[in-house]
Symmetry: none
Subunit: 455 residues, 2 copies
């Protein structure tokens, strides 16, 4: 066993207890009542970076701070690699659906259950532990390293691109590594080649100035909840295709070679369906499940609220109705164009008698990476060594808007190697990170430095 | 001036001060802390009935008591008329929105402000004063009279139908008179000819077993919120007509003479629209606003809930979605048939991939009165004499389930002659009864006995 692996093995218990400390901090970026927790998570992370051997610093933004860790010991002529992750987490609600408290990590069946375990505290923290181990064993890294952790990924990373732009010189690098995604299956290391973008909206339908008695007014006053339902029903056609005019205009077709590779992946549609708990799958006609998730854009309702939602019957004609609606985008769609298209479509279909307001809450561009180059090759070898088999190339239905920003501002290739797993419940109750992948991820991240040293 | 009118005039001040006593008792049936007040109101009412010349008695129920007043002096061969009203009131909250205390009646601008003034203490009490006056002047009524006052109308009249059924022989009558509704406009006496019924449902759409990440699953899993919206959108066609197959089958057409009469009512659509605060009115094509509310059935969304409804953006694909949906019914629709029709319709339109459950939460039958017969004719003449113009026939979009119960159990026609007015704030702060309508209502109620005596 190498000294590096020996170090990782002998410190495994401490790595776990530190991760649990990190997971106990409810750093929910979306809720202002958690602002102090988000700040506490940033401080905790800075201290841990410092202990790992990085020069760590906290950088305020107009939102939650950025935490930077730097190791420049390889010298000005050496290459620089930037690791990106985020220390904020999704809200944990609905709390009653968690089998154990979201901010009290516990291991059951080889899974670390906690809000943020896989998204993204666990995957960020494994890189810090790999750097610590490499520096402890070898005294120096083969390249310069920057770790950049933000606290606003779950609320749209509003201040990250401005931060990267403002510090472009300091953050200049030859490659970006991000672990905020999943392996295709247990034991199958994966490099992510594409991400969908996002265009998220709130639709508010306002009718009468207050809730009305549905007997005294019903039938003569336009019902905002019904109007909203009818608007939402126009967003797809009968084949599951998004019916917003122009929506598909900018969609770039996937290469046939990539579609062919997708078809070779060990994917069991029935197991996927069973995992979701849905009675049947659905979606756009003419595409496989993986193609629907990775290569096709969507339009989904994320939330609905109107009128009386308590127990029993209350005969109100609601004053207003609200929907959260978001589109996942694929190259070369962009959120601003989709916003214009959605607004034009809704303006065309909305009935008289209600006022419909569409607000863009946040957006991110889709991304497709190059599947070649020194960083890609080193990452592929590191994964193969850590997991005993060559990685597969996969797509991702979710969004990591910053990937596009890093590629654009820093002009560097981005390597996405993630250690989540299908069914991990990111953004849902009972989120978990595979304990084996936490350990394997630390190894892969440590091997990455070795492989970059050989390049 | 007749002796009857002279009696009413000379006792007007006492009638007011007695009504004020009644209104000062906070007989809020929905709040157990007011149980003693409800009991006090029942006792007070029994004493007043007794003084008016009725044999009065209190009848306990499993809830609040029923107060009965009886005058059987016309003999077993004479007709019997039952007056129904209620002595309980709505809660007065929010108190801070009242311009004067809810249980301290005051007259401003010709309006008697107090909780219960119009709904229904004032309208019940005016009948007792009319009986007192008639007996004082003539010594006997031309028919037998029963006054039935319940204390649970504002909490659903749960024990009234069982009470009427249990005492059907004692309550046997040739007609029921209820004053718990409004005149169409000031100075325009009104007979209510119809009430809509209700069929209230909850629709639950269940998809995946928990909320999913809309990126990782969106596009391949049927979205319950979108499925619900698409189902709700099928409930109406483009003209605003309910599109549930068979829904209109049992609808009995309104007589053209009644529709023509509705068109003559002094109704200002623009003022009605302004009062609602909506930017435009809507509804089923081919019908006026009043026809839509009084004569046509509806299907309304009363509430919607799904997924994330807080501030900002959360990218969930919701596990479930819920809608409260209720239909107002018109004769001869019935809630059970509408339940079967709705369930069949939803079963036909629901997509694969979600489970849809429809539960009936409660229902009530619609009602239409006969606009002819001795009671109706006597009521119309009494109103015309009291208000110096013939009454108009109006409808009501809401539901008063006890009307159907009286008609069903006692087999007697029901005459609804109300003395409220638009804007009277029943169930809201600053409830009022027009002082002129209190006086006019006593006259009309007294004339009713004279007119019945002529029949």
């Amino acid at each position: 066993m190498s000294d590096l692996l020996a170090y990782l093995d002998s410190n495994d218990a401490r790595f776990h207890s530190e991760l649990f400390e990190f997971l106990r901090i409810p750093s929910v970026s979306a809720r202002s009542e958690h602002n102090a927790d988000v700040a506490m998570a940033a401080n905790w992370l800075r201290d841990q970076m410092q202990r790992a051997g990085l020069d760590a610093s906290i950088h305020p933004t107009d939102g939650h701070p950025v935490v930077l860790g730097e190791w420049r010991g390889a010298g000005a002529d050496a290459k620089t690699i930037l690791i990106y992750g985020h220390y904020d987490v999704q809200p944990a609600e609905p709390l009653e659906l968690w089998d154990s408290p979201p901010f009290e990590p516990t291991i059951r069946d080889g899974k670390i259950f906690a809000r943020g375990s896989v998204d993204d505290k666990g995957q960020l923290y494994l890189h810090i532990k790999a750097i610590e181990a490499y520096l402890a064993v070898h005294g120096a890294l083969p390249v310069n390293v920057i770790v950049l952790a933000e606290g606003e990924e779950e609320v749209g990373s509003e201040h990250l691109a401005p931060f990267v732009e403002a510090h472009a010189e300091r953050l200049a690098c030859d490659g970006v590594v991000i672990s905020d995604s999943a392996m295709f299956a247990p034991g199958l290391p994966s490099i992510l080649s594409s991400l969908r973008g996002l265009a998220y909206f709130q639709i508010d339908v306002d009718g009468p100035s207050s809730d009305l008695h549905s007997g005294s007014y019903g039938g003569a006053v336009v019902n905002p909840a019904m109007a909203l339902a009818r608007i939402l029903a126009t967003l797809h056609d009968a084949t599951g295709r998004v019916a917003i005019p122009g929506f598909y205009d900018a969609v770039r077709a996937w290469e046939e070679s990539v579609r062919a590779q997708i078809r070779t992946l060990p994917f069991d549609e029935e197991a996927f369906r069973h995992e979701t708990g849905a009675s049947a799958l659905g979606g756009e006609a003419g595409y496989s499940v993986l193609e629907r998730i990775w290569t096709r854009p969507t339009c989904e309702v994320n939330g609905l609220l109107s009128g009386y939602t308590g127990e029993g019957a209350k005969t109100v004609l609601p004053a207003k109705a609200m929907a959260k609606v978001s589109c996942r985008l694929v190259p070369d769609q962009d959120p601003d164009t989709v916003e214009r298209q959605l607004k034009a479509h809704i303006a065309a279909v909305q009935p008289a008698g209600v006022t419909v307001t569409v607000r863009a809450l946040h957006g991110g561009r889709p991304w497709r990476g190059e599947l070649a180059g020194p960083l890609f090759d080193a990452g592929a070898r590191a994964l193969e060594r850590a997991f005993d088999r060559a990685p597969v190339i996969v797509g991702e239905g979710g969004s990591i808007p910053v990937v596009h920003d890093f590629a654009r501002v820093l002009g560097a290739p981005v390597l996405l190697m993630g250690f989540g797993l299908p069914g991990e419940n990111a953004h849902a109750p009972n989120e978990w990170l595979s304990d084996a992948n936490f350990t394997g991820g630390i190894r892969a991240a440590a091997f990455l430095w070795e492989e970059l040293g050989k390049a």
